[in-house]
């Protein structure tokens, strides 16, 4: 304790450099998804299997597109955080671990962007 500055002591992070951000972030997206999942599913489940024009009209309405976009954003952030913990637990080789982290970040970001971008195209048609 003697070799630590007062500021480092109140920050409480030590040599780990980061604290509970990841854990807390997963709870924040979990609460968001507990609310957004029903809001999204009520529309999506009804639209699945419907004709193209009907799906376009449905997500052309602002609230429907907004709930879907928010759900996709929260879901893919939550997926990224969850899959990261799974990789940390099971992948031990440094090279494989770095590759898996990289793939996780790139894929979840790309899929979230693709989903939201498609919704924007449909909504702003």
């Amino acid at each position: 304790m003697g070799m630590i500055t007062p500021r480092a002591r109140v920050e409480g992070l030590g040599s780990a450099k980061s604290g509970t951000d990841h854990w807390w972030g997963q709870r924040v997206t979990a609460v968001a998804l507990a609310i957004l999942t029903p809001l999204f599913l009520v529309g999506f489940v009804r639209m699945l299997g419907r004709p193209h024009e009907e799906v376009l009209a449905f997500y052309g309405r602002p609230l429907n597109a907004l709930f879907a976009a928010l759900f996709i954003a929260a879901a893919f952030v939550h997926l990224k955080q969850g899959l990261q913990v799974v990789i940390e637990d099971y992948v031990h080789s440094p090279a494989l671990k770095t590759t898996a982290f990289l793939a996780n970040t790139l894929l979840t970001t790309a899929f979230a962007a693709a989903g939201i971008f498609s919704l924007a195209i449909i909504a702003l048609r």
């Binding site: 709870r27 507990a34 299997g49 193209h52 997926l79 899959l83 919704l119 195209i121 449909i122």
Partner: protein, 136 residues
């Protein structure tokens, strides 16, 4: 757990061995914990299917026609039911995790009871989801 006789055999006293996965019957709580992680990973597949459907809808009638046909075919429909069940389980058990995080329900009888609540709620919501998809 009946690890004591094995413990005595190797001279470590009557202390129980740690659970050996091949002979240890996992309690329901443990199975449900593992299932939370399994369903979470599987839902990445559901997310990919959802995004594919949306990209196809934004692309045009031809692309949408194929994905729509695939997701509503018998194998695709079965996949949607599995993803729906995985999502309902992960949602219900995730809400229980938030209750635990708030500091409630850690006693063994409480966990035994909430196991049943989560499984019941997830099963009921999956049935409701399927009926809703079927009827609307």
């Amino acid at each position: 757990m009946s690890g004591s006789e094995h413990g005595a055999a190797v001279g470590r006293g009557a202390r129980p061995l740690s659970p050996h996965l091949q002979v240890y019957r996992l309690p329901l709580t443990a199975v449900m914990s593992i299932l939370h992680r399994v369903t979470g990973c599987a839902l990445m597949g559901g997310g990919v299917a959802l995004v594919w459907w949306l990209v196809a809808a934004a692309t045009g009638a031809g692309a949408f026609g194929f994905v729509n046909w695939l997701l509503t075919s018998w194998i695709g429909g079965l996949g949607m039911i599995v993803f729906g069940a995985a999502l309902m389980y992960h949602l219900c058990n995730g809400i229980r995790h938030l209750v635990w995080d708030a500091g409630f329900g850690y006693e063994k009888p409480e966990v035994a009871a909430s196991n049943k609540v989560v499984l019941g709620a997830a099963a009921a919501l999956t049935v409701v989801l399927c009926l809703y998809a079927w009827l609307t």
